[in-house]
């Protein structure tokens, strides 16, 4: 029984960074920008979050700084893909190579090459903030979480309402579907794409910073560990809707949690086989859902104002 409750609690924790990253991808794709560089954005967010919470001692400031840093890096992507009309896939790849290199460089310069592992304090849980003693499973599930978890679920609800019920949300979606038609209706297509990039950068940065401010106390290169790409899969799996994306993230979070719990349980199997679970699950899920195309229609295509 304890195995199951621990598993559920860990699933919620592991799903949170994926929710931020998938929402980042969702906001980007809804404006017609396929972003495969989330891995890189999360890496820079993770490093900045770590560094700033190390300096200021406040994980919340760290998360904000992580979001800012990822926005800055994503502005390079936005400029190249929106203004220069660079191929989005290729440029996302460039961000994936550039941002982690930058993060690892900053870490090495700041802490020195041979320094011992630096640790930062983690964000406190809501129950500790309120002074409530959470011992039952339900109390743990709903109260013993960091503020970031509540933020993630709040954002999912907001996104679901925004894209289906508000005029501005529908305008936003129009940019991803038929930018030319959107432009004739007076929507500033280029502007929406830049705003999308800011939102995407912020969310991806928060998702990365979650890893160093709420999950582990240290920063290591490659700590994002493919989550940026799993988030991409979650968006496809969730069929580009906020609710679907949430379910997909919970599923992938569950796989991640299962992997950790199985490692702790230590059967006579090399632990790497358990670590493969989230990655294999992603491949299997994508293979099963097959080829229904449901994404925004102009995704990946550059938009030029003057072109007819």
């Amino acid at each position: 029984m304890e195995f199951v409750t621990n598993l559920i609690l860990a699933s919620v924790r592991m799903a949170t960074p994926l929710i931020f990253l998938s929402l980042a991808e969702l906001y980007s794709q809804r404006a017609g920008l396929v972003h495969i560089g989330l891995e890189g954005l999360a890496a820079i967010g993770s490093l900045t979050g770590f560094l700033v919470s190390h300096i200021t001692g406040s994980p919340i400031v760290g998360v904000c700084a992580g979001a800012m840093a990822a926005i800055l890096v994503n502005m390079i992507y936005a400029y190249a893909t929106v203004t220069l009309c660079a191929e989005q896939i290729v440029y996302g790849m460039a961000i994936n190579i550039f941002a982690p290199a930058l993060a690892s460089f900053i870490y090495r310069v700041y802490f020195g090459a041979g320094s011992e592992l630096v640790q930062v304090p983690l964000m406190t849980n809501l129950s500790a903030l309120l002074g409530i003693n959470a011992d039952s499973f339900i109390a743990k599930l709903f109260l013993e979480q960091t503020l970031m978890v509540y933020l993630a679920y709040g954002l999912v609800i907001f996104t679901a309402i925004y894209f289906s019920k508000t005029k501005s949300g529908l305008n936003y979606k129009a940019v991803g579907e038929y930018p030319r038609a959107a432009a004739t209706l007076g929507i500033n297509v280029i502007g929406v794409k830049y705003i999308a990039s800011i939102i995407c950068g912020a969310l991806a940065g928060i998702g990365g910073a979650y890893l160093t401010t709420c999950y582990t106390t240290t920063y290591v290169d490659g700590n994002v560990a493919g989550r940026g790409f799993i988030a991409l899969a979650a968006v496809i799996f969730g069929r580009w809707s906020a609710g679907g994306v949430l379910l997909a993230c919970l599923f992938f979070g569950f796989c991640d949690a299962l992997q950790i719990r199985l490692q702790v349980a230590s059967f006579n199997v090399p632990y790497q086989f358990f670590q493969m679970i989230p990655y294999v699950a992603t491949v299997v899920v994508l293979a099963i859902i097959g080829m229904k195309k449901a994404g925004p229609k102009s995704c990946g295509k550059p938009y030029r104002k003057e072109e007819r």
Partner: protein
């Protein structure tokens, strides 16, 4: 006009390298070192002596393979980001055969290389088949398989094939190792890499199959309309690009690495992607970029020893080159830029 666009295509990476180095120098200066001394040390470390040049070529060898792997797939319009996984699977199979099968010498080398090539090809067929028959995104799947391959390699060196107390596998016996070229660090693996590069170049640009493959990559719909079996080309390009990476993995194990260890081949896949993109999907240019990247890495060790600037500066420079090149290539395709070029050139003609 065709000539100018060719010149522009060569100029963009060169200007990007220049810009990246300028920013690199600013970073070096900000770290309190003299950029000129640092760059001199970098140059000396990479090309200063025949021995250093050999080291550079040996570092370039695995990069050439992953670069060609990416290059070949993209020419056909499929994004195989799984070069790293395919490279590792080649290395894994090669290590298993080379250390467990009790064979040595030339037969072992040939068997290892062939088996590694096949392993890489099979590993690449997974995203290939899923893309063609399930319509799935090959990028995500090939990247997921990179992690699976890395973890599988981990199983070998920490558990199944662990050599005593250290987490690494037994080394390839001396008799099965590739010979060094003129006693340098570079081995015949480099020769194999160059041969593969030339073969890819010949295939893509001088055979009709290669032309059809490029046509599929250039405009899939048009190619399909002309009766090309697009799916077959997709599968074939996955297979071949995976085989190139797998061959690279086994050649690298037999040539310089000899055993599997934690962190081996990490980043080779994405390095390959960036080299192919900077080389604008031209096999020969990709090989040159690989040697340039390797020179940066080898030289940065000397630079660190001489000036105390950390080696990761070279990673930043490398990352900046790709960021600038891709943006630059997009920029020169903009109508505004073309108009500007036209104006400059027509003005010259008038004068």
């Amino acid at each position: 006009m065709k000539n100018t666009s060719k010149i522009v295509n060569v100029m963009v990476p060169l200007v990007s390298v220049l810009l990246a180095f300028i920013i690199g120098c600013i970073i070096i200066a900000a770290l309190g070192a003299n950029p000129i001394t640092a760059l001199q040390a970098l140059w000396k470390g990479a090309f200063g002596s025949v021995r250093n040049f050999g080291t550079t070529l040996s570092r370039a060898t695995p990069l050439i393979f992953t670069g060609l792997c990416a290059c070949f797939a993209y020419r056909c319009g499929v994004f195989n980001l799984g070069g790293e996984g395919q490279f590792i699977m080649g290395a894994v199979v090669c290590t298993v055969i080379g250390t467990q099968f009790n064979i040595e010498g030339l037969p072992a080398i040939i068997l290892c290389l062939v088996a590694g090539t096949i392993a890489g090809g099979i590993w690449a067929m997974i995203p290939g088949v899923l893309k063609v028959y399930r319509g799935q995104n090959e990028m995500i799947i090939s990247i997921m398989l990179n992690y699976v391959a890395t973890l599988f390699m981990g199983v070998l060196f920490t558990d199944w094939m662990r050599d005593g107390s250290v987490p690494q596998t037994v080394a390839i016996p001396d008799a099965s190792r590739l010979t060094r070229l003129f006693g340098l660090r570079a081995t015949t693996a480099f020769v194999i890499a160059v041969v593969v590069g030339l073969a890819v170049y010949y295939f893509l640009f001088f055979t009709s199959k290669g032309f059809q493959l490029r046509a599929v990559g250039y405009n899939m719909t048009a190619a399909e309309f002309n009766g090309f079996a697009v799916k077959k080309y997709f599968l074939a390009s996955f297979l071949v690009s995976g085989m190139i990476a797998g061959l690279g993995g086994s050649a690298d194990i037999l040539g310089t690495q000899f055993f599997l260890i934690n962190g081996y081949a990490s980043g080779y896949g994405f390095d390959g992607v960036s080299m192919a993109l900077i080389g604008q999907l031209h096999p020969l240019a990709t090989m040159l970029v690989a040697i340039f990247f390797a020179a940066l890495r080898v030289g940065s060790t000397t630079m660190q020893a001489a000036t105390g600037v950390p080696t990761s500066v070279s990673d930043i420079i490398q990352a900046l080159v790709i960021v600038f090149t891709v943006a630059g290539l997009a920029m020169v395709k903009l109508p505004e830029f073309k108009a500007l070029l036209n104006r400059i050139f027509s003005r010259k003609e008038v004068a």
